[in-house]
Amino acid sequence: MPENPNWKEEIAERLTGANLPPAREAEIIDELAGHLHDDYHRLLASGMNEDEALEATLEGLHERPPIAEAIRQAEPATPRVSIAMGTPRGSMIGDFWRDLRYALRTLKRSPGFAALAVLSLALGIGGNAAMFRILNATLIRPLPYANPDRLVQADHSGYYPPGGLVDLQRESRTMELAGYQPGLELNLTGLGEPWRLRGSAVSANLFQVLGAGVELGRTFQPGEEDAGRDNLVILSHELWQDRFGGDPGIVGRVVMLGDVGRQVVGVAPRGFAFPDSTTRFWIPLHFDPRDPTAYWARGFMPVMGKLRDGVSLSQAQQEIAALSMRMLPHFPYPMGRDWAASMTVVPLQQYVTTNIRLELLVLQCAVALVLLIACANVAGLLLARSSSRQKEIALRVALGASRARIVQQLLTESIVLALAGGLLGIALALAADGILRTAFVPTSNGMASASSGWQIPALCGALAVLTGLIFGLAPALIASRQDLALAIKTGGQRTAGAARARLRSALIVGEVALAEVLTVSAGLLIRSLWKLVQVNPGFQPEHVLTLRVSPDQSLCGQRSACIALYNELLRRAREIPGVEDAAAANTVPLSTGIPASAVKIEGFPYVPAVRAAPMFWAGAVTPEYFRLMGIPILQGRALETSDSEKAEPVIVVSAATARRYWPHENLIGKHVQLVWEDRWWTVVGVAGDVRQFDLADHSPDYIRGAMYMPYAQAEDTDRQLPALMDLILRTNGEPARVVAGIRDLMRQLNPNVPLDQIRTMVSLVNDSTQQWRSMTWLFVTFAAVALVLAAVGAYGVVSYSTAQRTFEIGVRVALGAERRSIFGLVLGQSLRLVLAGLALGLASAFALTRLLATFLYGTATTDALTLITVCGMLVAVALVAGFVPARRAASIDPVVALRAD
């Protein structure tokens, strides 16, 4: 027994708009359903299969005028149900439910359309919600300090030595100023395994300037930076909990930090993070005016402050430049006037987000474009549907529905779509949130740490309603404004619908243009990434393992002790199975360290009164370093074991440094001096250039060159031998096996020295392209979505307009037009749409991709290959989108086409 189709639903659908009293409607549905049932079974009995019988039965419901209208005319006039906005509340809600049910029913009937619309909206909404949340957490939400809008940071070359900071604190009338040294690392010892901790040395008033208190104890007091009074520490809440078990009696205890006994004076409140969220302790800065070199030439640090009441930012900016100018004579070596003149202050929030602001804004623009494309696409789809429902709408208008009522019903449908998209968007946003945050959010200042679970759903909901209104309104307005008589007479086909057609075409052109902007961006990023992974970093990363060895600096108080430790470490490391060679360096390429020293260069004229001394990247390496890293020596010799502590100081410089300072001379035997020293270092060799900072070679602009000192002779800015070194091993097996051996060895040599940051050079190289990879990956995703949406949109427009032109095409064929020319006609329509979008998109891409310039490497924003490829892709999209409708059009049978109406 065949299953009966749901006749009542079929009839109910067709009675929409008849506006019958519900009881009467039910009666009619019942009666008609009985008829269809009988008809269907008679047809089945006559030998038809179920599909044929169903089709033939439903055929009975097709008639002009449509059944709803005919019945409406036959039935006694019912009082018009008033449906305009502003009618009694009961009817509004009733209307809404009816609209909702109707919307769900219509969407169920075209699942393909609904799925496509929901998916594209979900991508747009979810992406925007995730991105906006991050944007809000970093760029918009005020920093988690008291008076965040009054906080400023000295910027540009905004670092001061301790003496400069004290000068500023004393002289400034516009700001309360505080200095801090970020990223200070010290070992916490005496509690079992040594523990490497990141913290910050800060001026005593820092907590007060930030308006922060403590959870236990007190903050630092004025004068506690002074030598002899500074052996104090404030612990972070996390450190207090993790290492001291939340001991309530912690205040007053002495802990060994950096091999110095420091008294705990306080515990910072939970969540307090300055300068960044990895900070576990704060110690006072060390001020000692008796040592002018230390006081004025070393320990340059960032300075932040709070604007005093009634002071504007520009007043503070003028003052700090003037004060900096006045402190120039205090420096023990010539400090450039440009250093002081460029000094300024910027809002703290702007300062801490400098590095990511552009990136986040660019990504936000990209997801906004995706959402726009999704909106355009769904608007296009809705328009197409509304034109096939033209007659239904016309009828409803004829039956007395007001325009507002029609718009309301159509909008309900688009909002249902958007809400479904929003719901899926929540899932997508939550998934994307984690990825985006790890990729793009810095650890600074506890940003994005306070995550609230409601943000994403709320954002998705708001975006959904908003987008539903945006993409639903225009189609709804156009659909509701139509020529009744014409629409009813022609039954929805061949009505010109000029406004609708224009809007749809415009939507596709816009969609293609937006998709092009995204695709060009993705293309440029792919090109950059490709070039970046091809870059020769200047060393051979394969089979190289690095481990950071971090004794406290006090170990190197005796230079010979440190030299002996590393000599012994290297000698015995080479004996570990799997280790081929071992070297040590104060930093490895592509890690975050920047060991910089100000230098004077023999024979290079610079004017100290105008410009500050040039800074060199100053490596301190053991002799095996060049060999192990595969860095070629281009001229002269490498460093050797004979370049010992007692020997004449020598350096090797990089090829770029040689070109910059001695372009046409033999530089072997030239001299370089560290600004705080009297001795001269002799250049003995030139090494190949190494990408020290990142693969794209974005070194800070104050770094003018690179030099390598033998470890035994080296001095850092504190005039000490660097204690913290990277152990670099060339291995011939699994690096992990070697690590255990090195740990054992280190425990034997000195159990108080932690080993951390164990990485292979290959992973460092890969990590250094991570930012590019995430950015590229995101843009490729966006572009792919955009292209698919544009293709679907173009296909929709062309195939729909082809269907509407069936009659016209039939006439053309009847009059002798060739199939081929019909095919070309339709394909041409698709091509024209895409080409118009292409032209518009090219112009926008030129304008917008400039934002991307800072993320590109070795690729111009007008890169011809990328542009040509993208144009090719879009033309391909046009051809694909046009092909199916074109083939369909070319196979139109004129007889059928002309009879169709």
């Binding site: 009985g34 009988d38 008809d39 009975g60 419901l61 008639e63 036959a74």
Partner: protein
């Protein structure tokens, strides 16, 4: 036409459509979408009257029967129709002559 079908006995809509099809030997077919609006109009005018009838083991059906007004209308329309056909025949006859 419908009125004449209902002259002798009440019929439901499906019956009516089949009877018309049979009596016209398939020349005249009514679709659901036009048959029922017409029945409703006739009912509205008071010429026919529908009522639901439930028979055991069958779905309920709506049977239509002629009202008194309907019978008068039928008579009047038959008269008018005969006159119309006669007139056409006369015209056709004249033309044939």
């Amino acid at each position: 036409m419908i009125l004449s079908l209902l002259e002798d006995q009440a019929h439901h809509g499906y019956d009516i459509s089949k009877l018309i099809e049979q009596r016209s030997a398939g020349t005249v077919k009514f679709r659901v979408a036009s048959l029922y609006p017409m029945l409703y109009r006739l009912e509205q005018r008071g010429w026919i009257k529908g009522r639901w009838v439930e028979k055991a083991g069958q779905r309920r059906r709506r049977y239509y029967q002629l009202t008194k007004t309907g019978r008068q209308m039928l008579a009047a329309q038959r008269q008018g129709w005969l006159e119309f056909v006669g007139a056409i025949n006369r015209i056709a006859g004249l033309e044939n002559a």
